[in-house]
């Protein structure tokens, strides 16, 4: 056994999407940081679909960005097709989505990491955590090398006891072509952490030149790109197209006839897969009436031929995969470059975590990303940055950072993770947020950048831009309130169709009308052109949705009453009468930080909450 000799403040294990954000955050906050990963050629690798963002995920990227994270900048720099979703369903459900150049994405992230002053990037497969008296002290690699650190962030993704299934064959692996990490979950379990097993899958990658794109519907990117990051100017790089393909009855028949070769149906897979991401064989079994399923055919990178067929993940044998692809229009002579597969892996039940993502069992040990039973790059990045922040805060002896459910999807996600049992891989949806109207992509900066600044993650440049935007928002608002239109402004009246205008109204009042938007107002009022589009967007949303936003804030306030009743960690649940043993055990295990959080724990009844409330009141009186 040998010791590497250098003592780190934060050691991050795994350079996936969680690990990269964690390591960058802690290093940027001033902690000497080590990022250890199995292979240096797969930093920030996209294991599955080559895209970032989408509903709720786009929101997460914006929040990571607002805190000073890297994901938004990285996709802005390496995206090859950008599309904004839900542009007409309301301000809070608009979301950014981009196809990434997988290679470029990974290369740029690696480069950023390599250039971060306090951050060391090293290759190494961790097999064991080193613990002394319930406190983490470091990690040990397969080669027997020990790295010592004050805190450790584990972001091992799908690698812990990863088992890859292709048809009825299976073998150990963390991702196609990469080894699994066999020892680490057992090492964690030996300290009492509960380990569970989940499953996920990915489709085959197809060779572009074997697909007849002329038979497929084309889907282009947006003409005007709205970047992910607050700090990205405009993106006017040439964009690539995606295509839309469809399965048909024949495809389904082939799959149905080969179900016995699927490890899932043969009962070989024990891990539970994501509900929202079923394999194609699952879809066909569960929705027998649907005679066609859609698939977006997405390019994986600019300088490469691999295409990703979304929605067709599978664990059927390669020959069956080939047969069903070839039954599809446009794919008659398709060639598979990498077969699709399913993977089972260990995760550590996240109800064992505090809201800081530190484990309750081992002090100084943090978990982020797929190890917590989540799935998705954005979910991983979001947890990564928070774990990195809190590991750093602990080293710096600063109070932890916890984001509220009313502050960000980051808060919603972590609160869900630590209060709800994981039944399948967790993915973010906007419907998970009870305050959706407040948690928009467009205001992520207002929600989180001040926090990011306070903890030392937000750069001077970003801060300057942020302060400038805030100023503009305020000024634009006053401008709209103070500028009046009267019936004598004939040009305005005509352009905005204000025939009914009797007395003078302010621009703000005009903007309240459903049929008038900020562009209309700007077109007749040159004074508004001094303000940035971002500032005007804020003002428009604030004015147009004022009533709803106000009601949403009232809900926040209403819930705050319970959120504000803090439950001390030392609260003796055994001393509280009249709560069922089941509820008592749950509360003892999870140790909710507030009454509100206690109420969200599955199985904790309102009656139990009432009892706790009464008990606390009695105790304090």
């Amino acid at each position: 056994m040998s010791n590497y000799g250098k003592n780190y403040q934060v050691i991050v294990v795994g350079a996936g999407h969680a690990g990269c954000e964690a390591a960058l955050a802690s290093a940027r906050m001033g902690c000497t940081t080590l990022l250890l990963t199995i292979g240096l050629d797969t930093v920030a690798q996209m294991s599955c679909n080559p895209s970032i963002g989408g509903l709720a995920k786009g929101h997460l990227v914006h929040e990571v960005d607002a805190l000073g994270g890297e994901m938004g900048l990285n996709i802005d720099a390496t995206g090859i097709q950008f599309r904004r979703l839900n542009t007409r369903k309301g301000p809070a459900v608009r979301a950014a989505r981009a196809q990434a150049d997988r290679m470029a994405y990974s290369a740029r992230m690696k480069n950023v990491i390599e250039n971060e002053a306090l951050l060391d990037l090293k290759q190494g497969l961790v097999e064991e955590v080193l613990v002394e008296q319930n406190r983490i002290v470091g990690v040990k690699t397969r080669e027997g090398l020990e790295f010592l650190g004050q805190t450790v962030v584990l972001t091992t993704g799908t690698f812990m006891r990863g088992l890859i299934h292709v048809g009825l064959n299976h073998y150990a692996g963390g991702r196609a072509g990469e080894p699994s990490a066999e020892g680490i979950s057992a090492s964690l379990a030996s300290y009492g952490l509960r380990v569970g097993r989940l499953k996920t899958g990915t489709p085959a990658r197809l060779s572009a030149r074997s697909i007849d794109f002329s038979k497929l519907e084309r889907q282009a990117g947006d003409k005007v790109v709205k970047p992910f990051s607050f700090m990205t100017g405009s993106i006017d790089r040439k964009q690539v197209d995606c295509y839309i393909a469809e399965t048909n009855e024949r495809t389904h028949e082939i799959i149905r006839n080969n179900l016995d070769k699927s490890p899932l149906y043969a009962g070989i897979i024990e891990g539970i897969g994501p509900r929202y991401c079923p394999s194609i064989e699952d879809k066909i079994v569960r929705f027998p009436d649907k005679n066609s399923h859609q698939s977006f055919i997405e390019p994986e990178c600019l300088k490469g031929s691999e295409m990703y067929p979304s929605g067709l993940s599978t664990s059927l044998p390669p020959e069956v995969q080939l047969a069903y692809f070839r039954s599809m229009v446009g794919f008659e002579s398709v060639e598979i470059m990498r077969p699709g597969y399913a993977i089972e892996y260990d995760f550590i039940e996240p109800m064992q975590l505090k809201a800081t993502l530190e484990t309750r069992v081992i002090d100084g040990l943090f978990h982020a990303g797929q190890i917590n039973g989540t799935s998705g790059y954005e979910e991983a990045a979001g947890q990564g940055i928070l774990a990195g922040i809190n590991a750093a805060r602990q080293c710096q002896e600063q109070p932890p950072v916890v984001i509220g459910r009313d502050q960000g999807y980051l808060g919603v996600m972590i609160d869900d993770l630590i209060t709800q049992p994981t039944t399948d891989p967790y993915r973010m949806f906007t419907s998970r947020s009870e305050y959706r109207l407040l948690l928009r992509e467009d205001n992520a900066d207002q929600r989180l950048t001040e926090l990011g600044r306070k903890i030392g993650l937000v750069s001077d440049e970003r801060w300057r831009c942020y302060v400038e935007k805030q100023k503009q928002v305020e000024a634009a608002m006053s401008f709209l309130q103070d500028t009046k239109v009267t019936s004598s402004d004939s040009l305005t009246v005509e352009k905005l169709n204000l025939g009914d205008l009797k007395s003078g109204v302010s621009l703000e009042q005009l903007l309240r009308r459903p049929e008038i938007n900020i562009q209309d107002v700007t077109s007749v009022c040159s004074g508004l052109r001094d303000y940035s589009p971002q500032a005007l967007e804020q003002v428009e949303i604030a004015i147009k949705y004022e009533g709803y936003i106000k009601r949403q804030r009232e809900q926040v306030k209403r819930d705050r009453e319970q959120e504000d009743v803090k439950l001390p960690e030392t609260l003796d649940y055994d001393a509280i009468p009249s709560i069922s043993t089941e509820v008592r055990e749950k509360l003892k295990k999870i140790k909710p930080t507030s009454l509100g959080q206690a109420g969200r724990i599955q199985g904790v009844t309102p009656a139990a909450i009432a009892v706790i409330q009464i008990y606390l009141r009695k105790k304090s009186s």
Binding site: N49, G54, L55, A56, L85, N86, R88, K89, G90, P91, A92, V93, P274, R275, Y276, C277, P278, D282, K283, R286, F287, K290, H293, Q294, F296, S310, G311, S313, Q420, F429, T430, S431, R432, E434, R436, L437, P514, Y545, Y548, R551, Q552, Q555, P577, S578, I579, S580, V583, T605, P606, A607, A608, A610, V611, I614, K618
Partner: protein, 454 residues
Amino acid sequence: MNTSDTIIAPATGSGDAGIAIIRISGADSLSALFRFFTPTGRQTELQSHRLYHGLLRNDSDFVVDEVMAVYMAAPHTYTREDVVEIQCHGGQQVIKSILKLYQSFGIRLAQPGEFTYRAFMNGRLDLSQAEAVSQLIHAKTDSSRKLAIKQMGGGLSRVIYNFSSQLKHILVLTEAWLDFPEEDLPDEDIADFIAVLTDLKSKILTITETYSCGRVLTEGASILLVGQPNAGKSSLMNALLGEDRAIVTDVPGTTRDFLEEGLSIDGVPVSLVDTAGLRTSSDIVEIEGIRRTEEKISLADLVLLVVDSSRTPDQLDFSALESCSGRPIFVVYTKIDKAIELDFNTFGAFPVYRVSSKTAEGLDSLRHGISSFLKKDYTTTDETVLLTESRHFEALQRCLEPIGRALFCCQNNADLELIAFDIREALYFLGQISGETTTEDILDDIFSGFCIGK
């Protein structure tokens, strides 16, 4: 409220019945029972949920009563605590002495509804069931007892459940459209929503309108006897009560303050209020009485304008009528046994009853008129749910607002997101009656209903 000690109370009503039940709940129940109870079979241990015959003796070894006792071990009991029930002889004296016996042992007398409170706290009942049970306990008359039982059996819960599942269905579709814009989903067609929401809105309105009825049935209606001095109000009160409660004299101005008495009229709990006769008076006590009568009128569910049929109506009768304006009014002519020739429609289009407190003539018909007025239209339909709790009433009322807004949004092509917002809010208010709809419920429905997955 403390829920850790052991409590005792009669579980049956206070009327003198043949048998009464006394209930003890809490950790000390069993030891308390044994402290004074000797089973006839001399058993030293009682099996749970078995009835034992035996004697209750006090510390001086005197037999207090011959009883049947049952011990029920937690958690399969009403309160989910250890419970003991003692069936004793029903006389008030017996009950009192048994309660005293146990109080001497440190068992606390339960506050009203405390057993139910414990049942609720221990997760045995949901809120709406608990409320129904507490009403059951307090139900004074048959028909309110029936109502309480219906509600407990889930009448209200069922209706609310139906409302929320319709709202949930809308929310599921809306959320699917919002969160999965790139999936194959049913077309974004909100025409159906408009129909469903319109229907819901009117159904909820109908239910909220039953509230005053429901409240009357459980809390009792307040019925005021109003009229000029000497009209015969106090006599009518006594006649309806069947006992001489109010002082009756032939001196006008006998009654100077209220007299309130509860009774049941055809199963409807009623609180009957005799008042000071309305006239201009110089007696300060009487003036105060009159002022308070007028105040009370505004709160009455029904006013009986009592008119003496043995004489021609005069100005005082009309001014009495005037002070009741705005309230539902019955004109009741008393002393019909010595009535003179009269036009019984002098006071306008109010229901008219002719009674004699002396001969009881017309009293049944008055009783019937009162009860059917109070029960109005719900008696015919047994399916109708009556709202009796102000909390339920408020929750339903509050949920009408977001439903109305959602409807407006649907009709005006507003953002889908706003429709979702309002539906969620409506579900939140409904959830206050019968449990909330969680995000998990919505997601479950989305994933089982639609083929989602890229």
